[in-house]
Amino acid sequence: MNRKDGIVLIVLAVILFGLILLEPSYGWTVRRFLTPGAPTGGTETDNPTLAAENESLRAEIAKLTAEGALAPAPAGSVRAMVYSRYPLNFKNELLVDAGTDEGVATGKAVTFQGIMIGSVLKAFPDSALVQTIFDNNFRMPVRIGDGGYDALLAGGSYPEAVSIKKGASVARGDIVYSAAPGFPYGLPLAVVASTSTSPDGLFETATLSFSYDINEIETVTIAR
């Protein structure tokens, strides 16, 4: 490498280092460009708080309509930071910085801005492993929409609500909320994106959409 090349490379390195430290947002822009399906601006997903609030309110309406009564709020909860696993980012599990010392116990619901994202799989003294609804083994009874139709949430990379009674008027935009024993009742999970008949023709199946990106979550709330 000659002297001129060396100087060019050092200048480039300094510029890149400066960008990394001072303007990391440009890196996000490049990354967004390389990521398929990433939002580019002006959509609801740009404001996850607003989208999550919207989803929570819709869940509340669905719950009140279906059940005619307000479910009790969770008695207590603990806020926890999600450990970064970047660039690995397992969607099926999260490691959080609260454990049994803070009152976290196995099987408790984990929420992000009021939306249930999974449950505690293992609790350690100062950390806990959360199984998210994106885990293939995640299963839980849920209800859907104003009609409160029963379904089973089947986890995976693309979670679905399955075993919905045939003829149930489940439609796109209906809220899916928790109805499993051991979890607070009525926690929103997702909204229905589309419905179809199951391969055996006995039930309906609903694909789901989510207002958050599980890889972007930094804090969660765990029920005690």
Binding site: V30, T35, Y83
Partner: protein, 141 residues
């Protein structure tokens, strides 16, 4: 020098694009890490640092510097210097470096535990990608 560096940059961008594309489908393959480890055997130190900085810039360290991003950026540099000590066939060194890097990355990311299925898929795909990158670029020396 320029052409080779440009080729390295293109390979890195392809690795990142593939990594993000697979991630959107639920497959977490750390191809850019494998590419950087392979670059340790191909580029001189300043070209190599440029490529590492490009990768860190796109992958992004925010909201805070994590153990993973430190392993991601520093381990390939360590490999770059270790290659002068270990004298095996370059493709064997490359495979070993990617495998050890994957173990290290998963160990740091998993806080002392390794998620076995994801690890094997990631390590295998990394070694495959690294070998595919090494063979043509190494001949370019």
């Amino acid at each position: 020098m320029t052409l080779k560096l440009l080729a390295g940059f293109m390979i890195l961008v392809i690795a990142l694009a593939l990594q993000f594309w697979f991630a959107s489908g639920g497959w977490y393959l750390d191809l850019s890490f494998a590419a950087l480890i392979t670059f340790a055997f191909i580029f001189d130190i300043w070209q190599f640092i440029i490529l590492i900085l490009v990768a860190v810039f796109i992958i992004n360290w925010q909201p805070a510097v994590s153990g993973e991003i430190l392993v991601f950026s520093l381990y390939p540099v360590a490999v770059h210097y270790l290659k002068y000590i270990v004298r095996w066939e370059v493709w064997v060194e490359n495979l070993a470096a990617i495998l050890i890097g994957s173990v290290l990355m998963y160990f740091v990311a998993g806080h002392g535990t390794i998620h076995a299925p994801a690890f094997f898929i990631d390590a295998f795909s990394g070694m495959l990608f690294g070998t595919a990158v090494l063979l043509p670029l190494y001949r370019w020396q």
